[in-house]
């Protein structure tokens, strides 16, 4: 039969139709791919960076998935990505685990951002809030927009008697971490009941007024769609999503709306930063002093290991990191992230210099077939997901 088939032109047509593209796909040079995962907080900026970076270095493909800081941390701990993004620095236990499993891990601040408290009240454009009131809203104690606590600090605004829909992040989020860090600073009840965390469940007092969105984008969209809702998103999302941001009372007692300037102010108070190779679990710049400082501000970090397995990946990674700390910063302000102060840029650059490769490891796509079969057949021990 085979002899016959070999003579049929149709047979060869089919072989070519499928075989040719397959050969191309298997043998095409892979652009060096850098995969990053994590925070949605800086995602608009990272997307912008990738667009411009790849124009210059088109043999390096960078892919970043905004899956939430929690997922990013998990990914870097199991070393399934080249770099991770997280607004929350690694917890001490996570940092120790990372060091134990894959060697020294770097915290590189890539950007500064503010968390805007966005609201959707038809007809209302301005709103003052204090940290305490915000905590009470999220704890469920304040149910209506025209609650006396809120109207007291908003004398010129007519607030409706409507229930407040409270939106949080459904996924494990660094933005939530920053937000709850702030709430813990300004409300003792919050600090006690919930504390600073990447994810929390709504207190029972909220009843059916609690909503959740995935990623900063998800929360922004929910607030966009649902009248009388309140949520917290990274500032760029508030602006791009045309959402209104509340003015928060800062440490100096002034009501300040988030903006490039007010967010940048907080960075000035970032002193005593640890060495990038150390743990950053204590770093926090929320509720910083200063007249015109916006209170909910944080760094967002790139987490990356010192020892890389592959030489080409290593140098691509260093090129990428150096670029975002230098040229990349030019795009920051356009997207409403203040530029990093120079001292922090240098801190990052010096750390990047220390990243090094071990040896060269290349796995050809040709090995895929055999390994694939083994993968399907081989029994997996529990805990395989982490390695």
């Amino acid at each position: 039969m085979l002899k016959y088939l070999l003579k049929t032109p149709k047979f060869w047509l089919i072989i070519l139709m499928f075989g040719l593209p397959l050969v191309f796909m298997v043998s095409a040079p892979r652009a060096i791919t850098l995969v990053g995962q994590g925070a949605t907080f800086p995602e608009p900026l990272i997307i912008e960076w990738i667009v411009h970076f790849q124009k210059k270095y088109n043999n390096i493909t960078v892919v970043y998935k905004g899956t939430g800081s929690g997922a990013g941390v998990k990914a870097i701990l199991s070393n399934t990505v080249n770099f991770a993004g997280s607004d929350a620095p690694l917890k001490l236990s996570e940092w120790e685990e990372a060091n134990r499993r894959h060697g020294p891990i770097l915290h590189i601040p890539e950007a500064i951002g503010g968390v805007a408290v966005v609201f959707n009240i038809p007809g209302v454009d301005e709103l003052n809030l204090t940290g305490d009131i915000l905590a009470n809203i999220y704890l469920g104690h304040i149910e209506y927009w025209d609650d006396p606590n809120i109207t007291a600090i908003n004398p010129r605004i007519k607030l409706p008697h409507e229930r407040i829909y409270v939106v949080k992040r459904a996924d494990s989020s660094g933005t939530t971490y920053i937000f709850t860090d702030y709430l813990s600073h300004v409300s003792s009840e919050w600090a006690e009941r919930i504390g600073k965390t990447k994810a929390f469940i709504f207190p029972d007092e909220l009843g059916d007024r609690g909503l959740a969105g995935y990623g900063n984008a998800g929360v922004a969209q929910v607030v966009q769609q649902i009248p009388y809702s309140i949520g917290y998103v990274e500032f760029a999302y508030a602006v791009k999503g045309e959402l209104k941001a509340a003015a928060l009372k800062n440490k100096a007692g002034k009501f300040v709306k988030p903006s490039l300037e007010t967010i940048a102010e907080a960075a000035k108070y970032a002193t005593n930063l640890p060495d990038p190779w150390e743990s950053w679990h204590n770093v926090s710049i929320v509720d910083s002093p200063g007249e015109s400082t916006y209170p909910i501000v944080s760094f967002t970090y790139i987490l990356v290991y010192k020892y890389q397995k592959d030489k080409t990946v290593c140098s691509a990674l260093k090129t990428w990191l150096r670029w975002i700390l230098t040229k990349g910063q030019e795009y920051s302000e356009g997207l409403l992230y203040p530029e990093l102060p120079q001292n922090i840029v240098e801190l990052g650059l010096s750390a990047v210099n220390e990243i090094q490769a071990e040896e060269n490891a290349e796995s050809g796509a040709l090995l895929v077939g055999v390994s694939l079969f083994l993968m399907i057949v081989a029994p997996h021990p529990k805990g395989v997901y982490n390695e």
């Binding site: 039969m1 499928f18 397959l22 298997v26 995969v35 960078v62 399934t80 791009k240 997207l335």
Partner: protein, 277 residues
Amino acid sequence: MRRSLRGIIDRLYTVFAIFAFLVLIIPLLHIIISIVINGLRRFDLELITATPGSLLGSGGGILHAIVGTAMVVFVAMLISLPLGFFAGLYLAEFAKGKFAHFLRTLISILAGVPSIIAGVFAYTVIVITYGFSVLAGGLALGIIAIPYVARSTEEALESVPMEIKEAGFSLGIERWKIVLFIDVGYAKSRIIAGFLLALARVIGETAPLLVTVLGGINIPSNILSPANAIPLVIYQYALSPFEVWHNIAWSAALLLMIIVLVLNLGVRYYLKIKMIY
């Protein structure tokens, strides 16, 4: 029952039937109209020739997703066509009792696999070791496609009239030739239609790709590159707060709809032509 009462009931049901039909059709029309109206906004050359661009501008295009879809669907077909076709062929031509029944049951089981689970499986097999890739997405979609290919192949071959097979048999033609040329030859158009319909089915699948291809903005070059896909990019952009991306999502939806429509109608038309003799 009195005659007039029966007549009233009949008329009532007629009204209900018309109503039911409208309930079905009107949302459909609304969907299509809203896709067209919203989609025309960004239905331009840039959409299909450019990769994503600056959020401060027009947002660029979805070339990366188009290439990604093409590659992922290609791999899916590569996996599902041989497996599905030969399984269907086997069931139709060579089935022998227990194994055939078992195979058929298994195909039914595969048909009932929720698409997200196919993605989860591909994740555990491929993504864990090779990372997010076209291959992983193709495997997931392939799993979904196999039952469609197998069933349509089997049905197509079963429709071959016995007389034709017996004629070949009586002429002393070898069995493999009868199966390959006569049966498959007779049912060829239906079989190919089955392939195309399976393709049309998986080209719009999103859930399995969520966990297998990563969905970045790169144009995949290699089977192990991460990728994006048209339905996936629609999902990502729809869930974002950026108006720029919403517009692209609608236009991508329009594009996808056109592709799916062309495939489905094309198959129908193709079958019609082939059946006229």
